[in-house]
């Protein structure tokens, strides 16, 4: 079937990789104990139905709306302050970790020297450490240290997100064309100048998009951390769910929808300006 003329040398490896992926994923499904049938059993349906029936109409009393506004602002403030602190850490670390700023790569047709790779390794390890502990664990830790309230949420987001942002920023710098920066370094420019003149113009759109998306994730994360006492919308949802006040939960979920939609619009606007 595959004669010499039509043979694609990449076909067999791709087929094998596809089969390997299926083989690896199958035990994963078994390990996760995924069984969709449980969802449709009578008592599960009844329990969920009863909870969802309370959702309509969403709560809209003046007093509750005021409470909701306060909680929303607090959640936004936690997410934004957390992101700002995370950026303070992430930007310098991404510059240190990225191979895009390798001076030796500029004179070795793109391959950094071994020494450069070794020196970047500790920064990468630090980034891995920062993001390997989930923010909820940090939040539980900080709630004990600084007490109940939004401060714990801000610190937890700052730590975890600095790891994520630093890693992805470093990779974005590496994924854009390196020739402009290399050309500048070959003309005597320093690393930082070469970065700002050679890499940032091409990477700006991608960076903004990822940052806004992470801010959106931080909003969600700050809600989850509210469940463990870090304030904001999450704490309100927790309270309302305990009181089986479905209508209030519904209002808060609608608020979420609005926040995520706003983040999406912001991202689109900024990308449109930059790309």
């Amino acid at each position: 079937m595959l004669s010499r003329d039509t043979r694609d040398p990449a076909f067999l490896p791709r087929l094998l990789l596809g089969l390997l992926a299926v083989l690896v994923l199958w035990p994963g499904i078994r390990l996760a104990e995924l069984d969709p049938r449980v969802l449709f059993q009578a008592d599960s349906r009844q329990a969920m139905g009863g909870f969802l029936a309370g959702f309509w109409p969403p709560a809209h009393g003046a007093e509750f709306l005021e409470l909701l506004l306060d909680a929303t602002l607090q959640t936004l403030a936690v997410a934004t302050a957390g992101m700002a602190l995370a950026l303070l850490l992430a930007v310098p670390m991404s510059l240190l970790a990225s191979r895009a700023l390798s001076l030796s790569a500029a004179s070795r047709s793109g391959r950094p020297s071994t020494l450069g790779l070794v020196l970047r390794w500790p920064v990468r390890a630090l980034l891995v450490f920062l993001r390997s502990v989930p923010e909820i664990v940090w939040a539980l830790l900080f709630v004990r240290a600084v007490g109940l309230g939004p401060t714990a949420g801000v610190l937890a987001i700052a730590i975890t997100y600095s790891g994520m942002l630093g890693k992805v920023y470093a990779e974005i710098f590496e994924s854009v064309g390196q020739r402009p920066a290399h050309a500048l370094m070959q003309a005597g420019a320093g690393r930082l100048s070469a970065f700002f003149y050679g890499i940032l113009p091409s990477a700006a759109g991608e960076l903004v998009s990822y940052t806004v998306y992470r801010w959106e994730c931080a909003v969600r994360a700050s809600v989850v951390m509210g469940f463990v006492g870090a304030g904001g919308l999450g704490q309100q949802i927790d309270l309302s769910m305990r009181m089986f006040a479905g209508a209030e939960v519904a209002s808060m979920l609608l608020t979420f929808l609005l926040l995520v939609w706003l983040a999406d619009q912001l991202s689109r606007l900024l990308r449109g300006r930059l790309a």
């Binding site: 001076l103 500029a106 004179s107 070795r108 047709s109 064309g177 020739r179 402009p180 290399h182 050309a183 500048l184 370094m185 070959q186 003309a187 005597g188 420019a189 320093g190 930082l192 100048s193 070469a194 700002f196 003149y197 050679g198 113009p201 091409s202 700006a204 930059l274 790309a275």
Partner: protein
Amino acid sequence: MTVRLTGVGLRLGQVRALDGIDLHIEAGERVAVIGPSGAGKSSLLNLLATALQPDSGTVELLGEAPWRLSGRARQRLRTRIGLIHQAPPLPSRQRVVTTVLAGRLGRWGTLRGLASLLHPRDVPGARAALATLGLADKLFAQCGQLSGGQLQRVGIARVLYQQPELLLADEPVSAMDPVLADHTLETLCRHAGERGVTLVASLHAVELALAHFPRVIGVRDGRLAFDLPAAQVTPERLDALYANAGIASPQAAGAAPAPVQIPRC
């Protein structure tokens, strides 16, 4: 002595790009490098620009041995060497004025370079560099909006603005029409002549090389085939230089410059 290569060899992956190159170029000389595609012209220029490190032999540029210097001293030496790239390495989302001013980043230092991003530091200088190439009206355009030939001239303007003592050009006019190519080479040579700058340019178009450069070097298979005054480069030498056994009916050497696609930046 601006350039002194002694027994230089360069390996790129499995390919022997350059082999046993001995080359001396005096200050203020204008030299053209010609040869078939893949002969090692770009490798030679990248080597002279310290963009590639030789595997063997010694390189001496402007009286210093770049690969024996510390990193900092090498960056200082590099500010005195300018390379015009065949495909200009310019970010498409950068304004032309920023791109041209970037030529002096090495001399300015980081802080002044970053300040120039907020407000262009030397608009008249950038405009003057572009004006010599007939592009002054594109000063505030974005690189991505320019044609291949315009982009190539912006790349040249940046290196002219850098004011290097050793000016290297890798196929500097490959994306331009014949009239513009002639005029641009004229400009480069005049710039070099007025300031006593050493100019080394690789060219596909042999007639341009013979018309503008007093000294012509032929490169083939990573070796120097000849190194002669332009008047002594005979058609027989060119035929031997460009002879291609892989093509059934070779065209007359130097008749048609091979069209080179310049990717948009």
